[in-house]
Amino acid sequence: MTQRRFSAEHEWVRRDGEIYVVGITDYAQAQLGDVVYVELPLKGRRVEKGKEAATVESVKAASEVYAPLSGEIIETNEALSADPAKVNADPEGEGWVFKLRPDDPQEFEALMDEAAYKRFIEEKP
């Protein structure tokens, strides 16, 4: 079964064996509006939990995508370069941003599960 977890910065993470796929949530894409560009991290780059890993731009806003887990970037979604709208159309599927290999898979468990994240965004003003 696929497992998904969520960060308070509105990233989702999906475990895919040893690899973890990261993107921004549907809530986040709705807040941001039409995505016009995604700045992807370089493959092989090390990222630290809670630090910037990518940037998602709309016409009048730019948002960092923070790494929800520390680890190494092993793949990025090159399709977003040609079609950044995928982030809006299918944020939690084809609109994924990068894949990483975590240093400590336990960090994944510490993130919110779907129910907790749902409560989290409902509580937001």
Binding site: Q31, V56, V65
Partner: protein, 528 residues
């Protein structure tokens, strides 16, 4: 995803009207030519003329042995060819699609869109100013140096500060220059402070300039009165804080009433006080930053001192410096030497501690001449009067509009007044759509979605060069629009503007697939 983006994201969603990408709207009054009366369509230069035309006649060049090495450009450049009347018509037609101060009220908050006197333009074009080279021998530029000296004197007296660095090219460049002098002053004290505090209401250039200068940025929130929260400031002060950047009057149009206490707190902590002088227009002749404990403040000659904005420049951003920062002012320095005024262009005394050069040559001299003409025209009396009228106009708009728009903070305004979009709640009309509807009414919109300290900000700065009649007409239009919004006519706003040279643009497509230049048809079709 970070939170700071969300303050402005509402405007992004609004930027493209619904349905633009799928189906385009019909022109209300289609004409055969595409022109609509005086609004004349105009193709790009590259789509006109013929390669053998030119609008400049030059004498023929006889054959000669060139000295280009083997570096002659062989391939065509790709420029068009037009005669002079075609070029004049092209740019005249283009100009007619621009709103400008000369057309009407331009109430952009924190931009000080005041009248740009034509006398300034004439004197800047005198041969003795426009046709002198920055590297001419000293004996041939005495008048130019006197202009710089005179301008610096006016600005020193107006700011109450002992030194003016004139070379910055615009406000943001002035900010960078100011932060560099602060960093240099700290280094000379043997201190390495890493953080710069920036008021939450600050212009985006403030954090960007400090970050360019290598500082970590921390925002200081406003209090419920729309001023910098002194307690929040003090909580953040420490041995690693280099400076605070604050605008006064701030971008809520309010005077920072605790400014002296803020200065004291900063100085107690060993930090410098940077003031963004974009809003100095309110204070001319009444308040001197130097009396408030400010160490560094840039001025915008293209705002307060009436030099033209020119569709986005050139600006000029002189920086007033306290005695503590003056030794670090950028090169060149204007000094009184044996032969009168002269330029000191190297790091020799008294400029030994200078941060160095930040721009080519000696700054935006052409704007200096214009600003000096303005200062001489107004004089001590006129400048004070200008500030008073600017403040009067802003307060008049506050009074007339506070029942219509939502006033963000009560109390007296300075040169501008901040409203927000609470009055639009439940109407289905966004701040942006409301602003776009103002275009059809013949007004340039106010600044929207800035400052970030309130949601749906609408910042209005009328300046002193608006008549009462013009303000009254503006108020009447805003009242009518607000009523329309409340009456449930949201669709009207979504459509706006309908009467401008262009309707709303698809900014999303423009940013997803940027086309930043014209290309010949064949190249463009090959994916160029």
């Amino acid at each position: 995803m970070s939170d700071w983006s969300r303050a402005v994201s509402a405007s992004a969603k609004e930027s493209a009207p619904p349905g633009t990408t799928s189906a385009t709207r019909k022109a209300p009054e289609a004409t055969t030519s595409g022109h609509r009366g005086l609004v004349l369509e105009e193709e790009l230069l590259f789509e006109q003329g013929s390669p053998d035309l030119s609008g400049v006649d030059l004498p023929p060049v006889e054959a000669f042995a060139d000295r280009l090495g083997s570096l002659e450009r062989k391939a065509p450049i790709g420029l068009p060819g037009l005669s002079e009347p075609q070029v004049v018509r092209h740019f005249t037609r283009l100009s007619q699609k621009n709103y400008a101060i000369d057309c009407g009220l331009y109430p952009l908050g924190s931009c000080t869109m005041k009248y740009n006197p034509r006398a300034n333009e004439r004197v800047a074009r005198l041969d003795g100013f426009a046709e002198i080279h920055p590297l001419q021998p000293a004996a041939t530029i005495k008048g130019a140096l006197q202009v710089i000296e005179d301008l610096a004197h006016w600005l020193e007296v107006l700011t109450g500060m002992p030194a003016i660095a004139l070379s910055p090219g615009a406000g943001a460049h002035g900010e960078l220059c100011g932060m560099m002098t602060i960093k240099a002053a700290l280094e000379s004290r043997g201190e390495e402070r890493r953080r710069v505090l920036v008021a939450a209401s600050a212009h985006g250039t403030n954090p960007a300039s400090a970050a360019t200068c290598g500082y970590e940025i921390e925002a200081v929130p406003s209090n419920e009165k729309g001023r910098l929260d002194l307690e929040e400031l003090e909580r953040r002060l420490g041995a690693d804080v280099a400076a605070l950047m604050l605008t006064n009057p701030n971008t809520c149009g309010l005077f920072e009433d605790e400014i002296c206490e803020i200065a004291e707190a900063l100085h107690r902590a060993g930090a410098f006080f940077y003031c963004d002088g974009a809003n100095f227009n309110a204070l001319l002749g009444r308040v001197r930053p130097g009396d408030l404990g400010i160490d560094c403040m840039h001025l915008n000659l293209h705002k307060t001192f009436s030099t033209p904005h020119g569709g986005g420049g050139p600006g000029s951003g002189p920086v007033a410096l306290s005695a503590a920062l003056a030794p670090f002012a950028p090169l060149p320095w204007l000094v009184h030497g044996e032969k009168g005024l002269c330029l000191r262009e190297g790091r020799s005394p008294p400029a030994a501690q200078s941060i160095g050069r930040i721009k080519g040559f000696h700054g935006q001299f052409g704007t200096f001449v214009r600003a000096l003409a303005y200062l001489m025209s107004l004089g001590a009396d006129g400048l004070k009067g200008a500030a008073e009228d600017a403040v009067l106009n802003a307060n008049y708009l506050r009074t007339r509009l506070e029942g219509t728009l939502s006033l963000s903070f009560p109390g007296m305004s300075m040169h501008e007044v901040l409203f927000d979009d609470r009055f639009l709640e439940g109407t289905g009309v966004s701040t942006l759509a409301f602003a776009k509807a103002m275009i059809d009414e013949g007004f340039h919109p106010m600044t929207v979605y800035f400052p970030l300290v309130v949601k749906g900000a609408m910042l209005i700065e009328p300046t002193e060069t608006e008549s009462k009649a013009s303000l009254d007409a503006f108020v009447a239009s805003l009242e009518a629009l607000a009523q329309k919004a409340r009456a449930g006519e949201a669709a009207f706003f979504h459509e706006a503007p309908r009467l401008a040279p262009r309707r709303r643009f698809d900014e999303v497509a423009a940013a997803r697939h940027p086309v930043l230049r014209w290309r010949p048809k064949a190249a463009a079709e090959n994916g160029g």
